[in-house]
């Protein structure tokens, strides 16, 4: 009975906020907003939108960010996996990159900002000895008008994500066998992989790639920290309009959210065209029998890309860690003049409340998501039907629709229901984004479970729930804890839904950190970045250590 509720409840919780939210955004865009007296259909707000200064420049940056971020990260991951899979170096880099997956986007963006700014760690390390700079050069690196810094920040975060997705898809693609075959036929490592393995892998990671595009076209936190300011990317301007005291701006923001939907749509459509083009080029090269054996340049370039993106974030985080203990730290000093605990002493008490909210919302949303994911998968077992491509697309929907486009509407609805800035509302909003990851991370281990244990227990006369709690759950503990860790890290990193639904009264570590970014005091940002790092990392540590402890006497359950 309970399991039968699983799939419809999940679909309702996922698509309900999404559809109601979208409606709540679309209606004001066309003039309907009864609370403000908007009762008739009009296109006026779109006219106002298109009159807004540099609106097309904003949209253009968002579009470019989506496509370039996805293309760059995917290319680096593809060539890197092609060139290095199966080598010891690959394993080492994989271990280095994977912690980045759990790092909130905002923290990675801060790290990059404090590394590459003209007064950042890099410039300090080489000045004045190599550069002759006694003062930071007047260079526009962070907040550059083309958004390159912002895209770099996004790429650094999307590489680990796509890498993990690719690794999960590799086993089904029989990569090792294919490589042997293509090598025997004289193909270079990269060419052989791209011709033989990649098409199968790519089919499986397509939805995650779409999610990357959608996220990058509508990102707010990374854009605030690293992105252009004149004009800012579209989503950033929408959020500004949404909070303008002049209420008529809400119509404008809603119309802008429709434009955001279109921008993301165009980005996805362009991507589909790029896919076709890339496939055609690959086919042609393969058809002509291009071996491309001298691919050392590509292989090392991908290795460098991989290393650089990871090392940049780690170095930036290290710089932030030093900042959090810094007294006066002037350019070009590599280290602060004096170290002090002042920033920590002043900031720690203040972090208590956001920390509590982060934990509460993260744990609640993740726990609900885990239960729903398990119910859905149990239902699959019962009916013997697996979620098809359509259902998968549905689960990915909240990740592919730009966040602003439906969170705006959701905010209107919550205001009307007097539920804005309440814990249940915030948990629901987080659940929408945690749920997809929960389901996706559990589905493979769940299906890989050896059903004969289940049959054995049934043969011993155990009821269904007894079998679940005494056999399946303990044996799947590791996978479920991983799900919880992933879900929790997603929740910790959520910026826009927290800002809009928490409405400033419920704040998390991430929203506080981004709010502080404007003050530009690197000491305090350092303290918050530490917690942004710590929380998800703790989740993953628990997910690794607890099974190790519990199963230390069970030989068969060790990794």
């Amino acid at each position: 009975m309970l399991t039968r509720l699983g799939p419809p409840l999940t679909i309702f919780l996922l698509t309900g906020p999404l559809l109601f939210g979208l409606a709540g955004t679309l209606l004001p865009a066309f003039g309907f907003l009864p609370v403000l007296g908007g009762m008739e259909f009009t296109l006026r707000h779109f006219e106002a939108l298109f009159d807004a200064p540099a609106i097309w420049a904003s949209a253009g940056i968002s579009l470019a960010a989506g496509l370039l971020t996805a293309a760059t990260s995917l290319l680096v991951v593809m060539v890197f996996v092609a060139a290095w899979a199966g080598t010891p170096l690959f394993a080492r880099i994989q271990h280095m990159v994977s912690p980045l997956l759990s790092l909130p986007h905002a923290a990675a963006a801060f790290a990059l900002a404090f590394l590459i700014a003209p007064s950042g760690l890099l410039a300090r390390l080489i000045s004045p000895e190599l550069t002759g700079w006694h003062r930071p050069p007047d260079l526009l690196i962070v907040h550059d008008p083309m958004g390159l810094a912002m895209m770099a920040g996004l790429v650094a975060k999307e590489i680990p994500f796509l890498m993990l997705m690719t690794l999960a898809a590799l086993p089904q693609a029989r990569a090792v066998e294919t490589r042997r075959l293509t090598t025997a036929l004289g193909y270079g490592r990269v060419a052989g992989f791209v011709y033989g393995t990649w098409p199968i892998v790519y089919r499986q990671i397509r939805l995650p790639v779409f999610a990357v595009i959608a996220f990058a076209t509508s990102v707010v936190d990374v854009a605030v920290i690293l992105g252009p300011t004149r004009p800012a990317p579209l989503a950033v301007r929408l959020v500004e309009w949404m909070s303008d005291p002049e209420l008529s701006f809400r119509y404008l923001a809603s119309a802008g959210a429709v434009l955001q939907l279109a921008v993301t749509g165009v980005a996805l459509a362009s991507w589909l065209a790029l896919e076709k083009l890339a496939a055609a080029l690959t086919r042609r090269a393969a058809g002509r029998g291009r071996r491309l054996r001298r691919d050392a340049l590509a292989r090392y370039a991908a290795l460098m890309g991989m290393l650089a993106s990871a090392l940049a974030v780690f170095a930036g985080l290290a710089a932030l860690a030093v900042w959090s203990f810094a007294g006066l730290w002037q350019f070009p000093d590599v280290l602060p003049q004096n170290l002090t605990l002042k920033s920590w002493v002043r900031t720690l008490p203040r972090t208590a409340e956001p920390l509590l909210t982060t934990l509460l919302v993260g744990l609640a949303a993740t726990f609900i998501a885990a239960v729903l994911a398990i119910l859905c998968l149990m239902r699959e077992d019962e009916t013997g039907r697996r979620a098809g491509q359509g259902a998968l697309a549905l689960i990915y929907l909240p990740l592919v629709v730009p966040q602003v486009a439906f969170i705006f509407g959701l905010q209107f609805l919550l205001i009307m229901g007097d539920l804005l800035a309440t814990l249940p509302a915030l948990i629901l909003a987080h659940l929408v984004f945690v749920m997809p990851y929960a389901y996706l991370s559990l589905k493979d281990p769940w299906r890989a479970f050896d059903k004969r244990y289940d049959w054995l227990a049934a043969g011993l006369g155990k009821s269904r729930w007894q079998r679940f709690f005494h056999v399946r759950l303990p044996m799947m503990l590791r996978a479920i804890l991983t799900l919880l860790a992933i879900g929790f890290s997603v929740s910790v990193g959520l910026y826009l839904p927290t800002v809009l639904i928490g409405a400033g009264r419920l704040t998390t570590i991430t929203t506080e950190a981004v709010a502080l970014a404007s003050g530009g005091n690197p000491r305090i940002i350092g303290v918050y970045a530490f917690f942004q790092m710590l929380l998800p990392a703790t989740g993953f540590a628990v997910a690794t250590l607890v099974p190790a402890l519990i199963f230390r006497r069970f030989h068969g359950m060790r990794v």
Binding site: P136, P228, P245, L420
Partner: protein, 406 residues
């Protein structure tokens, strides 16, 4: 199932949001009794560390003395809090609002007052600590940006535009003496001056400072903007900015986000002259290790902008009594003296020290205003703030001209 849960939760919430009893500051004991146990959501700009720390201190004191909990809702723009109240009014939420107290002045105060979003009639002048307020000598306490305050906001601190420079890099003799001088200096030292991007409050204030100096007839600024004349009379300002941006930091392609962000830029030598609305900002930053102790202050001999910042209570606040107690406490000699300490915040007091009891007067006298703080006599004349409509129009025009980069 979920729907019904949500509906039930909504019902429960609306039941909790009982309409607050009208509070009367004249019956102060009654206010104190009602305030006990209340939580006051103070919506205030959260971009400055020392201000945030000060409000935490205030929370501790309020809890101990009055049983009031103060929650600082950190804003990146005060307009957001105004927006919240506006939205609540539009949604018919006339009681149980989410904002109890708001840090405000200028255009935001004018907007709220004009729309009837503030607790009225005036209450600030009935607060017990009003007796110490220096409204006789500080005209901006009763008139904010040409708008009469009428007690609808309690004065919290005084502000004056002050510039800072590092004596280790710059000679005192080279300091600009007015806006025109500043431009000339910037042209000789390209890339070393900037201002926070409007609509940041301090950034917009810099624009007003230039406008006051450059406009032909400054008396126009004391009246609401005349739309037809706007372009003509502000022409000198934008000509000035066009020239300034060419030689500004990052060639005017990006701007610091706010004034605290300019402090690290000064420390690193990216900027050579920065400014703030708090005369003790530099001393405070030196005490906190954010700026080297060679930084000093200066103002323009012909005057710089000055104003007062306030605490106002929205008409639909949930914790009216708590908000009154908080506003009164923040106006108290204790809280004001603590606030003026540069090691804490350094924000000048709104009180008249000579009106205070002996003990409190001694506290103020004992304050070390810091090595980089100018004495009140050195601060120079105070220029009056223009009517709030000017700020709005200038910000709009700034956006129109400069949003799209070059």
């Amino acid at each position: 199932m979920l729907k019904s849960t949500l509906a039930a939760a909504a019902l429960l919430l609306s039941a909790l949001a009982v309409r607050a009893e009208p509070v009367d500051p004249a019956d102060w004991d009654g206010v104190l009794a009602e305030a006990r146990g209340q939580t006051v959501y103070l919506n205030a700009w959260g971009g400055s560390e020392n201000i945030n720390a000060y409000l935490e201190w205030a929370n501790g004191e309020l809890k101990e003395r009055f049983g009031v909990t103060l929650v600082h809702v950190k804003l990146d723009d005060t307009a957001n809090a105004v927006a919240k109240v506006v939205a609540e009014k539009a949604a018919g939420r006339d009681a149980g609002g989410s904002v109890d107290l708001i840090w405000i002045n200028g255009e935001n105060f004018a907007a709220m007052k004009q729309r009837g979003l503030l607790l009225s009639p005036g209450w600030a002048e009935s607060l017990p600590n009003w007796q110490y307020v220096d409204h006789e000598n500080k005209p901006t306490i009763r008139t904010d940006f040409t708008i009469p305050v009428e007690g609808q906001a309690a004065p919290w601190g005084m502000a004056k535009l002050v510039f800072f420079y590092d004596t280790a890099r710059m000679d005192k003799a080279d300091l600009p003496k007015n806006a025109a001088d500043l431009l000339a200096w910037a042209e000789e030292n390209p890339g070393r001056f900037s201002y926070p991007q409007p609509p940041d409050f301090i950034g917009s204030s810099f624009l007003k400072q230039v406008l006051i100096e450059k406009i032909e007839d400054p008396s126009l600024l004391q009246k609401p903007v005349d739309d037809e004349a706007f372009v003509d009379v502000t022409e000198p300002l934008f000509t000035y900015l066009d020239r300034l941006h060419e030689v500004a930091w990052r060639s005017g392609r990006t701007f610091p986000e706010n004034y605290p962000a300019m402090k690290q830029l000064l420390a690193d030598g990216e900027l050579e002259i920065i400014f703030a609305f708090n005369p003790a900002e530099a001393s405070s930053a030196i005490a906190n290790g954010e700026l080297p102790d060679t930084v000093r202050s200066f103002t323009f001999p012909e005057g710089t902008l000055a104003n007062t910042h306030f605490l106002a209570i929205p008409y639909n606040a949930s914790a009216m009594a708590g908000a009154l107690v908080t506003a009164n406490f923040l106006m108290s000699p204790d809280a004001q003296a603590h606030k003026q300490d540069p090691k804490v915040w350094g924000d000048p007091t709104v009180l008249a020290v000579d009106k205070l009891p002996e003990e409190a007067r001694a506290r103020f006298a004992a304050l070390d205003l810091g090595i980089a703080t100018l004495s009140p006599a050195e601060l120079g004349p105070a220029l009056a703030e223009p009517h709030p409509s000017w700020m709005e129009r200038i910000e709009e025009e700034w956006k129109r001209r400069y949003t799209a980069g070059n």
